[in-house]
């Protein structure tokens, strides 16, 4: 009788979860929130449903173990079922830890730049801080399409003698860099042109600008370029910058590889425009008061930093679930 009630409850809750998830997915999407389901599952009724499933699962598992222990015929298949049900505890526990303790962020590295990871920014859970330096970014292009990305990083530890290099490590798409429980996942990349702005007195304002990939349609063709709109540090100057990896005879050629790069720069303050135009590397745009030079360029990479101790618990839960199901099926 008890088993029947528990089983009925379990079925009702599972159906309710499936129905709610279906409604969540099918309900209209918001353009500003594409990951709509993630927001909706945090609603109280869904959390109550998952909690109810957790409780029912507890009774169900205890009941199953009790019946199995009392039974003279110890079927491995039955144990498989218990293991499978128990795996849900592990998965849900891991997921709860993830929701509560997961720390993420996006770090941008320009080549030769170092970022320090410490208790302050990525909750290292009392583990020692470390620093990561991007030595080089090596995109691999074939027929102008990116076929692979490789980042060459160095990891540094904070020692009594200062920051010491501990190891070199690569980072690729699908191959995160793991350090002190923190994963660095390759997310995006772009060009980082080095711009020098000089005033009349030849004072230099130097900036490396990290530009994201942008695209616009010209004459029906998509034009790829890297673009940003930014303020020049320590001034009231605004800079609109576009990086065209390939330009021939004054026309943009859709390309990722910087074989013949040009930049478009517009430097202004309020309504006053100082310089506005296209220049190649080592060329300058000159106004009566300011000179803007496209000095050089290198790459930047965007890395998703993830510190999630719940993740491995969830994966362990998956393994237990599959073992349980295999037992259920094979015996």
């Amino acid at each position: 009788m008890f088993s029947k009630i528990i089983n009925k409850l379990a079925i009702i809750i599972l159906i309710a979860i499936a129905v709610f998830l279906t409604v969540f997915v099918l309900s209209p999407q918001c353009s500003f929130a594409p990951y709509f389901t993630g927001e909706k599952i945090r609603r109280w009724f869904f959390i109550v449903l998952v909690a109810a499933l957790y409780i029912v699962l507890t009774f169900c598992t205890v009941d199953r173990i009790w019946r199995q222990v009392r039974s003279k015929y110890n079927s491995p298949s039955w144990w498989g079922s218990i293991i499978f049900h128990a795996s849900f505890y592990v998965i849900v526990t891991g997921a709860c830890i993830s929701i509560g303790g997961r720390k993420t962020g996006l770090e941008l590295f320009t080549e030769s730049e170092t970022v320090i990871f410490s208790e302050n920014n990525y909750l290292l859970h009392d583990r020692p801080p470390f620093a990561v330096k991007l030595n080089r970014f090596l995109p691999v292009f074939e027929n102008d399409m990116p076929v692979d990305y490789a980042c060459d990083f160095s990891v540094y530890y904070d020692t009594a003698e200062g920051w010491m290099q501990a190891r070199k490590s690569g980072l690729k798409v699908n191959m995160p860099l793991e350090e002190q429980g923190v994963s660095l996942v390759f997310k995006r990349w772009g060009y980082s042109p080095r711009i020098i702005i000089r005033d009349n007195e030849y004072n230099e304002i130097i900036g490396m600008f990290n530009l994201n990939l942008g695209e616009k349609i010209e004459n029906g063709n998509p034009q790829k370029f890297f673009t940003d709109f930014t303020s020049v540090p320590n001034t009231n100057l605004k800079l609109e910058l576009k990086f065209y990896p390939e330009m021939e005879n004054g026309k943009h050629v859709p390309a990722y590889t910087a074989r013949n790069p040009r930049i478009y720069a517009k430097l202004y303050s309020g309504k006053r425009v100082y310089v506005d135009g296209y220049i190649a590397m080592k060329e300058s745009l000159v106004s009566d008061t300011l000179t803007l030079t496209f000095d050089d360029f290198n790459y930047w990479v965007g890395v998703e930093v993830v510190n999630d101790i719940g993740e491995n618990i969830v994966f362990a839960g998956f393994v237990i679930a599959v073992i349980g199901l295999a037992f259920r099926m094979l015996f």
Binding site: L14, V25, P146, N174, R188, E311, F315, F318, M329
Partner: protein, 274 residues
């Protein structure tokens, strides 16, 4: 798509059509000769299908795991291969080919209508877990499709029994039990598929679960099959009820696959790293 691949694909679709007619003819006209060699035309079609995959693989340099065309190619192949394995073990189960052969033909027909351009693997796809994910996904979906075939055979047998017509379709209890075993097999692979997808997502996006619509659909269809299995084991929902449920649950699988096209904001579109 190369010319050779196109020719082979057309031949394969034609062979699946012949297989469908052969299998249907064997039953409708009750021809013993046709029934005796049920698996033969499907086996020939699978050989041609294998050739399409080999040609495609050599042209692209990677397994058929990218986009609708390659997914349909692999999905149909695994479903038919699973069916033939089943038939070699239990010859009398060949009857479900009436569902499997047209399904393979439709899948390849659908694939043919998409734009099967030759493409390299984009960086996001270069993962061992992708192959585990896609392979287990299609094995699971294939198993569910075969289980639906059993459901159809179940109703056919029931129909013949009512009219007291002699048939070569296996006993109802046998069909029911085999369908359950296949659903369970699919359910395990479905779980592995979700787990492999999560591991891949953690390495690619830094998040093992992001409630992406496709992920959620996959979970919904897994839950549906979980409910079916639970109902059968705990409340003895067998035979006709079980057959109806596995046919209905297949709809969630179809949505999980084709839904990718309807939901452009899904992470599964893979535009972000291209």
């Amino acid at each position: 798509m190369t010319n050779l691949e196109l020719i082979l694909l057309k031949i394969t679709i034609g062979l699946y059509l012949v297989s469908s007619l052969w299998l249907a003819g064997g039953f409708i006209f009750n021809r013993e000769k046709l029934r005796k060699f049920f698996a033969l035309p499907v086996l020939i079609a699978l050989a041609a299908h294998t050739a399409v995959i080999i040609v495609r693989w050599s042209a692209t340099g990677h397994g058929p795991v990218m986009k609708d065309y390659e997914n349909a190619l692999l999905g149909a192949w695994l479903t038919v291969a699973l069916y033939l394995l089943l038939v070699f073990k239990w010859r009398e189960m060949a009857v479900i080919g009436i569902v499997i052969a047209p399904l393979a033909m439709l899948l390849l027909g659908y694939a043919f209508m998409t734009e099967p351009v030759l493409e390299r693997l984009s960086p996001g796809y270069k993962s061992f877990w992708l192959y585990v994910h896609v392979f287990t996904a299609w094995l699971a979906f294939g198993a569910y499709a075969i289980a639906s075939g059993f459901a159809v055979a179940f109703f056919m047998r029931g129909h013949y029994d009512k009219k007291s017509v002699q048939t070569k379709i296996p006993e109802l209890s046998e069909l029911d039990l085999t369908a359950f075993r296949i659903v369970l097999f699919g359910f395990i692979l479905h779980a592995i598929m979700i787990a492999a997808g999560s591991i891949w997502a953690a390495k690619l996006w830094g998040s093992y679960w992001s409630w992406d619509p496709i992920e959620t659909w996959s979970l919904i269809s897994w839950l549906c099959y979980g409910i079916i299995i639970h109902l059968r084991l705990a409340f003895a929902w067998k035979n006709q009820r079980f057959a109806v449920m596995i046919m209905l649950a297949l709809v969630t699988v179809i949505i999980a696959w084709l839904g990718i096209n309807w939901i452009p904001s899904s992470d599964h579109v893979f535009s972000k790293l291209e």
